[in-house]
């Protein structure tokens, strides 16, 4: 019978491909940042598959945001630690 819907990985690649022209128009440093965002979203494909969203790009965007927020939290903790060690010293 085969699949009746593309897999989430196929959808992800399709969505990434749809931004190919946008990526091409960016400067190199921005291209790398965009690639990082898609790499971040790729980490959550299993969760995105489970979410079964009719608009998977919404889930991918949230996955990107999730990874960005994790990075913010990590950096915030680092800054607090450095500030703490600065006041202690």
């Amino acid at each position: 019978m085969g699949r009746t819907l593309p897999s989430i990985t196929q959808m992800f690649m399709e969505e990434e491909q749809s931004f190919a022209r946008f990526r091409r128009a960016l400067r190199r440093s921005d291209q790398l940042a965009l690639d990082d965002l898609f790499s971040a979203a790729r980490k959550h494909l299993a969760a995105a598959a489970y979410a079964s969203n009719a608009l998977p790009m919404e889930t991918f965007l949230l996955a990107m945001l999730l990874e960005e927020h994790k990075e913010v939290l990590r950096l915030r903790a680092l800054v607090e630690r450095l500030a703490q060690s600065g006041t202690d010293g």
Binding site: M1, G2, L5, P6, A54
Partner: protein, 192 residues
């Protein structure tokens, strides 16, 4: 040759002949029809992809799930299933869209005479349904390996009350819209 076409699809059997590239346009048409009301889709080529439909709906409305919920989809994987699906459809107000209708009839495991007989039964059902609501059928010519099935396409063409050939537009990045009930549109279709 591309022609602009004004095509009010009202309670008739319209057939669109084209290749696989016709499918995204059919899906856009499905999305447009789902915005207006219930839609019955019968898929003979396992080609109904809900994601592009959802994307198209999202551009048109915030109530994506409500519109998606108005699409009733049935897939046929054999020509026997296709006949049964169409026989079981009750004529109503909702338009009917049959995607890649002939794909299951191109199956070499089914004798040509049998495929022909089943297709004729399908056409009877499609005609019955088209008396109550618009019926939009898409079909592809057979692949080379089953080129002997070409007469099936001719049978479908003869049964069509409106016949269109989808024309490839190499420059168009976005697919052209398909004709919808009560909608006048310019198409990349050639009237047959």
């Amino acid at each position: 040759m591309n022609t602009s076409l004004s095509f009010p699809l009202s309670s008739r059997l319209a057939v669109i002949i084209g290749d696989r590239a016709t499918i995204p346009r059919m899906l856009e048409a499905a999305a447009e029809l789902a915005l207006a009301g219930p839609l019955q889709v019968v898929d003979g080529g396992n080609c109904f992809n809900a994601y592009p439909v959802a994307r198209h709906l999202r551009r048109r409305t915030a109530a994506v799930h409500a519109a998606l919920g108005r699409i009733r989809l049935a897939r046929a994987f054999t020509c026997y299933q296709m006949v049964t699906l169409l026989q079981n459809l009750q004529p109503g107000d909702q338009p009917v869209m049959a995607l890649d209708l002939l794909q299951t009839f191109y199956d070499e495991n089914v004798r040509m005479a049998e495929s022909r007989r089943l297709l004729e039964r399908c056409i009877v059902q499609l005609t019955r349904l088209s008396r109550a609501a618009p019926v939009l059928v898409s079909a592809r010519p057979p692949a080379e390996v089953c080129a002997t099935r070409l007469p099936l396409l001719h049978i479908l063409q003869e049964a069509a009350e409106a016949l269109y050939f989808a024309v490839e537009s190499s420059s168009a990045a976005q697919p052209a819209p398909l004709p919808l009930p009560g909608m006048e549109t310019s198409l990349g279709l050639t009237e047959g």
